[in-house]
């Protein structure tokens, strides 16, 4: 008979398969010191060293298999392991208190798990889980157990467990994971992050008694609804399978067509490209069918360091990305950093209003060297690339002229010096400040293209700090005022024969595809994962019909009216 449990959804998707119950080895704390305090202390330091090596290996493995965000968990574990106060407590308990290494470590870790766990905070709850995880690792090392030594079935399974610590989750062979279900844990727990990165469904906090569960039982997991069905009936399986098939078919269909161009029903083609910030992202972008890069953020070269990146470093980093993208166009945004980032060597300071302050292209007078170095590196690295360069946060014509003068000087210097220099480079700007949209006709004289940054354009137009939770809901790019600026930008550019891209979140929003097409946007730049779906959606549209909807949208009075209009107009297309 089937049993249904309601848990908390932690990673979307549906999966049906054999259950495998993961039971980590129990920890046996050795209460009494078996040896002299000095020997017990040696045991502890040896175990700590083994734990450190395991964590370093895990961080590496995790980085390769899952990504940097997930690997950061193990850097945090290393920090806990090396905590000086924790180490001192354990040392004193062993050498002065005569306790066993095992008991001393357990007590010291537990103090923190309890104190921090008692603070009733979501983030700290996750940290308490991390501390417990490190504590268990140290105990395993003292016991001589390798936590990686367990047998997984050789067929893909749905993994059921009381709780899954980060180090449990990353030990599983990811090819054999159908989904996760835990009895404990919250939606922000580590297993949720890992499951989402794998695209595997997960449910947490499902009140299942794992002890009484027969081995190899069938389980159906609905990670979208947070539902778990044990031993599902044929009817239940059929219903779920139908949902699953529909979701899966839509995605597979989109993915299979991801590498074809996005041509509307009436034969109008737009460019669909990716926003990226690293070479790794570039690989993902190609995989999901990006026809190029519409926004390469270059901040990664400048953060977490004490000096400017030199030319050789910059060239290496850009060339790596250009090599991945081959002949596809790559739009590189020059440095966009300000008082919200701690980059002292650039001379940025904490400012009361960093988004209205000294940032991005506004550094040009005090630090022309930064822009010059970046142009020099890009032109040299981009010899075999289809390179496009754009300036962020332009608000006046002077900034563009000044930057162009530097750019031309750099190009002339490279050519005069006999150095490599990319040809046919397009030069453009971001339109993300309302003043730039309003004088777009003049800016279009100076550049080859515009890229509309809707996230900032929205925040500046509506005077809403989108990182301030109390007002963030007001920051809708569907506000008629924002739409009018977008329309004006595109119109002004087209009159001068320039093309326009859009690289804010709006470009990847399925609700906006028809609207932007109707506004005659030329290039849609978005997170790589949105590309297959947006391309599929664009293919269902008719550009003439979209133009009518767009012109109606521009005449609406409120955000809600715009959204209602779009829902009505495009509901049948989805």
């Amino acid at each position: 008979m089937s049993l249904t449990y309601q848990g908390i959804p932690a990673s979307p998707g549906i999966v049906i398969g054999k259950a495998w119950i993961y039971r980590p080895a129990p920890v046996a704390v050795q209460r009494d010191a078996a040896c002299s305090p000095e020997i017990e202390w040696e045991h502890f330091t040896a175990a700590k060293e083994t734990a450190r090596q395991q964590l370093e290996r895990l961080a590496d493995r995790c980085k390769q298999q899952f990504g940097a965000e997930e690997a950061a968990i193990f850097d945090a574990h290393l920090m806990i392991l090396d905590d000086p106060d924790l180490g001192e407590t354990i040392r004193a308990s062993i050498l002065e208190g005569g306790q066993s290494a095992s008991a001393a470590a357990e007590a010291a870790f537990n103090t923190y798990v309890e104190t921090i766990g008692a603070l009733q905070d979501e983030y700290l709850g996750a940290r308490a889980q991390d501390i417990r995880d490190v504590s268990r690792r140290v105990q395993y090392c003292l016991m001589g157990i390798d936590p990686a030594a367990f047998e997984m079935p050789d067929q893909p399974v749905v993994i059921l467990a009381e709780d899954l610590a980060p180090s449990d989750t990353v030990q599983f062979d990811k090819r054999l994971i159908l989904g996760f279900c835990t009895v404990k844990g919250g939606p922000t727990s580590h297993v949720a992050i890992i499951a989402r990165s794998l695209g595997a469904p997960a449910v947490v906090s499902a009140p299942i008694n794992l002890e009484s569960l027969p081995a190899g039982i069938q389980v159906a997991l609905d990670g979208t609804a947070g539902k778990v069905i044990l031993d599902p009936t044929p009817e239940e399986i059929q219903a779920l399978q139908k949902d699953q098939d529909r979701e899966e078919a839509a995605w597979q269909q989109a993915l299979s067509q991801a590498h074809s161009p996005a041509v509307t029903r009436d034969g109008c083609q737009v460019e669909v490209v990716a926003n990226i910030g690293s070479a790794e992202d570039a690989h993902t972008a190609v995989l999901y069918g990006a026809e190029g890069v519409g926004l390469l953020r270059t901040e990664f070269l400048y953060l977490d360091r004490d000096t400017l990146p030199n030319e050789a470093e910059q060239i290496r980093a850009y060339a790596e990305i250009f090599a991945v993208m081959g002949s596809r166009p790559v739009v590189v945004r020059t440095l966009d950093i300000g008082g919200d980032k701690a980059v002292s060597y650039l001379g940025v300071q904490a400012e009361p209003n960093p988004f209205l302050g000294w940032r991005a292209i506004r550094m040009i007078n005090e630090r022309p060297d930064v822009l010059r170095d970046q142009f020099r590196s890009l032109l040299q690295a981009g010899v075999n690339a289809c390179l496009r360069i754009m300036l962020p946060m332009v608000s006046s014509l002077d900034e563009v002229r000044q930057a162009k003068a530097i750019y031309c000087q750099v190009r002339d210097d490279l050519l005069a010096g006999g150095l490599p220099c990319a040809q046919d480079v397009q030069f453009g700007i971001m339109v993300e400040v309302p003043s730039a949209a309003l004088i777009a006709e003049h800016l279009a004289e100076e550049v080859d293209f515009f890229s509309i940054g809707t996230n900032d354009l929205t925040q500046y137009t509506l005077a809403v700090d989108r990182t301030n939770e109390r007002v963030a809901p007001l920051a809708s790019p569907f506000h008629p005022a924002v739409l009018r600026l977008i329309a004006l930008t595109i119109e002004s550019a087209h009159k001068k024969g320039r093309w326009v891209g859009l690289c804010g979140e709006l470009a990847g929003d399925p609700r906006a595809a028809g609207l932007l097409l109707g506004l005659r946007l030329d290039e849609f730049s978005m997170a790589a994962k949105s590309i297959p779906v947006v391309k599929a959606l664009l293919r269902t549209l008719d550009s003439t019909a979209c133009r009518q909807v767009a012109s109606q949208a521009l005449s609406q009075a409120t955000t809600q009216e715009v959204i209602d209009l779009l829902n009505d107009a495009f509901a049948h297309d989805r």
Binding site: A76, D83, P84, T115, I116, Y123, D340, A350, P354
Partner: protein, 92 residues
């Protein structure tokens, strides 16, 4: 003993990544550095211990006091002040 008092504005307080950055910065200096949460009980703990810093439960909007004593104490405080006042390198 030189000290600073500063308001923590980061949405996750001194918990996740900001706590690690704070402890790493403090650990880079030879002087002793302590931190207390003035909005809570105000007990000073070792700022180089991630576990101790987490026990303070510093949330967004809490005011903390950081004290340093010994070699490079002033520099340590300046560095830590900058870290917190620039919101740990993220948007405010």
């Amino acid at each position: 003993m030189p000290s600073i008092e500063v308001l923590v504005n980061h949405a996750s307080g001194l918990h996740a990544r900001p706590a690690a950055m704070f402890v790493r910065t403090a650990s880079a200096y030879p002087c002793t550095v302590t931190i207390s949460n003035l909005t809570a009980h105000g007990l000073a703990v070792n700022a180089k211990s991630i576990l101790k810093v987490l026990t303070l439960g510093v949330n967004q909007g809490c005011t903390i006091r950081v004290e340093a004593e010994g070699e490079k104490a002033e520099e340590a405080l300046e560095d830590l002040y900058r870290l917190i006042s620039t919101n740990f390198g993220e948007s405010a």
